[in-house]
């Protein structure tokens, strides 16, 4: 491939210029990858921390009703649609917890085994254990610290209706959200139903979906399918509208930044390669006099664009990732908790590469076209 080896040799001969333009592309790609991945990681972290261990779609009784009627039929219908990943039933109610002279308001939450898929109880219990069939309760970390309980302690629970019962503490959990850690008492579905006298009924159906961002459409589909006015269906997106519009704005501004970077890269490469055509017009004229075809002559510049595009984008993505990890380490808080969990989107990196290489090639088209017009006589006449 003569045009390729000519391109390589011309680039090597003009080393200073080549390094400059390649570094330029590398920095642009680094900035693009850094910003792109940072925003993606930031958004993923935000969404994960907002909805990570929570249901994405929730069914609760509508109006003043305490429980969901005919819930078995609703569960069957939901499962038949195949739209949700997990559907867990829960029975919950407010109560007061007594220990000696101390009291604390709590939310007693009874779950079936499927709820572990949503909340990850097994992994958040740090002392004792969770068993969805047991009669004991799990207490949150903050409440434990406040009241000073241990595994095996018995506590008294009083419902607003006046029923009292005694339950044993079988473990402690930390769900990462202090509001839950402070107020939740987790127990089995059956136990909660008996404490509140629900008589086998439930107060909520909690679900997760494959893609959390589809929660609103799936919720709407379920609403249509169930067509039940005694229940209300909510999803995390409508509860977090402000967060989501914030994320959208962020994505848009990140996209804008990236577009400007690409455009400036194209202009810079085109400008520098245009100068190269001028600088190499003597060589081009000689090659044309020796019978190189116009197409091959212009391919020299396309290859120059391609070579610097490829090298620049590889170096740039390495630099971008380095920046990203540097940022992650630099901003991590004490206790090694990263401010942002780095999420490497390989597809995004691949797209950035393709864009960089395409940009370099497109930029090279301009000087390549100019090279077509070069007449060897002009060069020979000038000497």
């Amino acid at each position: 491939m003569l045009p390729f080896s000519l391109a390589l040799r011309f680039l090597r001969a003009g080393r200073g210029q080549t390094i400059l333009i390649t570094v330029g592309i590398a920095i642009a790609i680094a900035a693009q990858i850094f910003i792109g991945l940072l925003i993606t990681s930031l958004q993923k972290t935000l969404v994960d921390r907002t909805i990570g261990n929570q249901p994405q779609i929730t069914i609760s009784p509508a109006g003043d009703a305490a429980t969901i009627l005919n819930w078995q039929k609703i569960i069957t219908t939901i499962q038949e649609t195949g739209l949700v990943q997990t559907a867990a039933t829960s029975a919950s109610g407010n109560a007061f917890l007594f220990k000696g002279t101390q009291t604390a308001p709590v939310l007693v939450r009874g779950f079936d085994a499927a709820a572990d898929n949503i909340y990850g109880f097994n992994s958040s219990v740090y002392e004792g254990s969770w068993d969805s069939s047991q009669n004991g309760v799990l207490m949150g970390k903050d409440l434990q610290e406040e009241l000073g309980f241990g595994v095996g302690d018995e506590v008294t629970v009083q419902t607003p209706g006046g029923q009292t019962g005694t339950v044993a503490i079988t473990g402690f959990f930390d769900l990462g959200i202090s509001q839950l850690n402070k107020s939740w008492l987790i127990t089995s579905l059956g136990k909660a139903q008996s404490i509140f006298g629900y008589n086998g009924d439930i107060t909520g159906i909690e679900m997760t979906t494959e893609d959390p961002f589809q929660a609103d459409t799936i919720a709407a589909q379920l609403r249509a399918k169930l067509d039940n006015s005694t229940i209300s269906i909510t999803n995390w997106k409508e509860q977090n509208e402000q967060l989501l519009s914030g994320l959208q704005g962020q994505s848009l501004s990140s996209l804008m930044i990236q577009i400007f970077i690409v455009v400036s890269v194209v202009i810079a490469i085109a400008a520098i390669l245009a100068i190269t055509v001028f600088q190499k017009s003597r060589q081009l004229g000689i090659l044309k006099a020796m019978g190189i075809k116009d197409r091959s002559a212009s391919m020299i510049f396309i290859y120059e664009g391609l070579i610097i595009g490829v090298i620049g984008s590889i170096a740039g993505s390495a630099l971008g990732l380095l920046l990203l990890y540097g940022f992650s380490i630099g901003t991590s808080q004490s206790g090694n908790q990263a401010l942002i969990d780095i999420y490497i989107d390989y597809q995004f990196i691949a797209i950035s590469w393709v864009i960089a290489v395409l940009a370099a090639v497109i930029a090279a088209l301009i000087p390549a076209r100019r090279s077509l017009r070069l007449n060897p006589i002009e060069v020979i006449r000038e000497g």
């Binding site: 040799r9 001969a13 020796m290 190189i292 116009d294």
Partner: protein
Amino acid sequence: MNNVIELSHIDKVYSNGVDLQVLFDINLNFEAGSFNSIIGQSGSGKTTLLNIIGTLDRPTRGEVVIDGSRTDTMSKDKVAELRNQVIGFVFQFHFLLPEFTAMENVLMPYRIQQPRLSRDVLKKADELFELVGISEIKNNLATRMSGGQQQRTAIIRALINNPKVILADEPSGNLDSENTEALYRIFRDINKEIGTTFIIVTHDRRIAEQTDRIVEIRDGRIVMDLKKWRNA
């Protein structure tokens, strides 16, 4: 003998606001294997004529036939191919590519048509370096040679594809008398040994007198065409 170059009724007009005609109805043939010169004052049109013969320029009117093919109506790519295979150029300036070594420069016309170098062409290049007496600098960059060495490298480059014709435009214009003499000796040797046709454009009558045929151009017209009688 058959003609390797046939020009008939060549006019060349440069239109740059005002029309400027530099060649008028030129009819000229060159025999294969001949050793010719074109002389004339600067501005006489001799270089334009050479560029038309070399397909670097096209005539405004008239026919150009090189090695049996009409070039004035050929496509750009075909012309480039013909130029690569049939014609070798030696200019006043060596026009070597400064990024490449002497050897790489010499092989460039071959690489334009063939992606891979053959053993034969490498052997041939070595022999030519030997012939023109600059074997020791064949791996030097084009910028790291004397003027004489550069011009000899340019000659080897012109010869590498076994062209039928070598077109030389003031080839000794930048050389001292010693190198000038050596250059024409090399031209003669090649003409004799390989049978390559030479057309040398010069303003120097003494150089022209060493050739077998002198064509003189004045104001775009042929005013003299003199063939020497040579004993075979």
